[in-house]
Amino acid sequence: MLLSAVATVGLVIIATCNLQPQQRFEMTLGHDRPMITRLGPPPRVKLDGASQIILEGPVYFTVRAPHWYHTIDVTIDYQPGTLDITGVGGQTGEGFQYAVTPITNVESLEDGWRRVTTTLGRRGLYNPKNTTQILLQTGPGAGTERGLRIRSITATLSR
């Protein structure tokens, strides 16, 4: 009886998590989580304390969520060095096929970091087994530090 109650509560919690209007997944830099992976491929990124340095672009990560979440807002807090973020895109087919959206709305934060939010529509993208691969495109930056420093990446999925 008690076990059935615990199981039912567990099922309700899982269902509630998946039926919310929005899901917000924050990347744990350097670690894979079930809903959002780390940045890769590994030779192009380096973990440096609480932040991650992109040494070479493009880099990728994957988000997994049920198919009824149609929009992904990717928010990146970063500091440009010799590289800067130029676009964010989603995979549209097998292999290297990405629809990259150039970034335009860069916001300067009070603590010197920059924030960019890009909205990707999930419907036109390639979503095998509910996973969406997202690419960060880089270009030359104006800074002196090697690469590009990332503080956080958040994917907000909306229905």
Binding site: C17, P34, M35, A65, P66, K129, N130
Partner: protein, 63 residues
């Protein structure tokens, strides 16, 4: 009922509940990838259920 017989019965219930829940969650995960595994991995149920099942297979001592 003797305590040890009750414990055997409890382990049997744990086995049935966790195994049936495991198959239910695997089915849901197959139909909608990420629905379950994003929040809870069903393998934990087997980790609890299999030892309970093995214990409950042993003949309950009748005292």
């Amino acid at each position: 009922m003797h305590l040890i017989v009750m414990i055997h019965a409890l382990f049997r219930v744990i086995w049935y509940v966790s195994a049936s829940l495991f198959f239910l969650l695997v089915l849901v995960e197959y139909l909608e990838p990420g629905f379950v595994v994003n929040w809870f991995h069903p393998a934990w149920l087997l980790l609890i259920g299999i030892p309970s099942g093995i214990i409950s297979l042993h003949k309950s001592p009748t005292i």
